[in-house]
Amino acid sequence: MMPRTKAPWEIERRLVVKAEEETDPRFGQKPNERPPQDYIRFGVINLDKPAGPSSHEVTAWVKRLLSLEHAGHGGTLEA
């Protein structure tokens, strides 16, 4: 049998420190602390796609529903 390839989500990684430095609290913010408008602008929805409409159509609905200028889906085009 062929050697099994690990799925990307099965790979375990450790964080190694190269240098230490504090981050300045005056700039940026933790993703979960973004104000609502920014939280949406930098957001992703884990949507349960219904049967029937295409991924493209469903994405267009979400875009209209949330009055967005841009939205895109990250599934493959067709399985």
Partner: protein
């Protein structure tokens, strides 16, 4: 198809390329054209684990030439007569419809895909924060009426979540804005780094606050990056953070 479909909003659409390239998991109902003993089905599914050759189906969104795809796992869940329920973890761009057809050929009886549900797309799972269109509409309206921010967090993830499967490099505040202007990452800017990075690997560059700065391609391995005190370590592919969030701390060449 039903199931996990990550939808990126506004600025977050820039992370889509990372999601498109990430592995997927599906649960599939395959219909055999004649009945086959369960043991043979199991053995055949086993044979398709690893690297397979696949020609995209007639109705495909890519050029129909033979290509290889990795099948990470492929396991039988249940059989009911000619219906076979299985779970498959596979590389991006694997056509499950074609996989069913090819399994049918290998079994000698012929088969086709009957139903398909995606249970994973990269970091996004079926049993973790999956919401329906109805949920989205309901919670968004409720948020507009109440301004309760907690509601947004119930159905929207920060775009950083989409980058979870990528190896990460954390950088100094002083390196952030240069990258936002398209500069490549140099060794002195690196504070910490995840293990297992090899040259040409896709990596995500983060601030210490956990904000995504850019998607990049590693030029050297984790070990080399740790040893280097100058030189480029990752080539910027896609800038995710707007300019000016962090101060400009670099000087343009004279």
């Amino acid at each position: 198809m039903t199931g996990v479909l990550p939808i990126a909003l506004e600025e977050a659409t820039k992370v889509i390329q990372a999601l498109l390239l990430s592995g997927k998991e599906y649960v599939c109902v395959m219909r055999l054209h004649s009945q086959v003993p369960e043991e043979r089905i199991k053995a055949t599914l086993d044979e398709f684990c690893g690297t397979i050759y696949q020609r995209p189906p007639v109705r495909a969104s890519v050029k129909r030439r033979l290509r290889t795809r990795k099948i990470y796992y492929l396991g039988l869940l249940e059989t009911d007569g000619k219906n076979v329920l299985f779970r498959v973890g596979c590389e991006a761009g694997t056509y499950v419809r074609k996989l069913c057809y090819d399994l049918g050929e290998a079994l000698g009886c012929g088969a086709h895909m009957r139903e398909l549900r995606r249970t994973r797309a990269g970091p996004f799972l079926e049993n973790e924060g999956l919401v329906t269109l109805h949920d989205v509409s309901y919670m968004f309206t409720l948020w507009q009426e109440t301004s309760d921010e907690g509601l947004l967090r119930k159905f929207i993830y920060p775009m950083e979540e989409a980058l979870r499967p990528l190896p990460k490099i954390y950088i100094r505040d002083s390196a952030v804005d240069a990258l936002c202007h398209g500069a490549h990452l140099a060794a002195p800017g690196v504070l910490s780094i995840e293990t297992g990075i090899k040259p040409k690997d896709a990596v995500a560059v983060f601030t210490q606050k956990g904000e995504a700065v850019s998607l990049a391609t590693a030029l050297v391995s984790t070990e080399e990056i740790l040893r280097m005190d100058h030189g480029l370590v990752a080539k910027t592919q896609r800038v995710l953070m707007p300019r000016g969030v962090y101060p400009k701390m670099w000087r343009s060449g004279l």
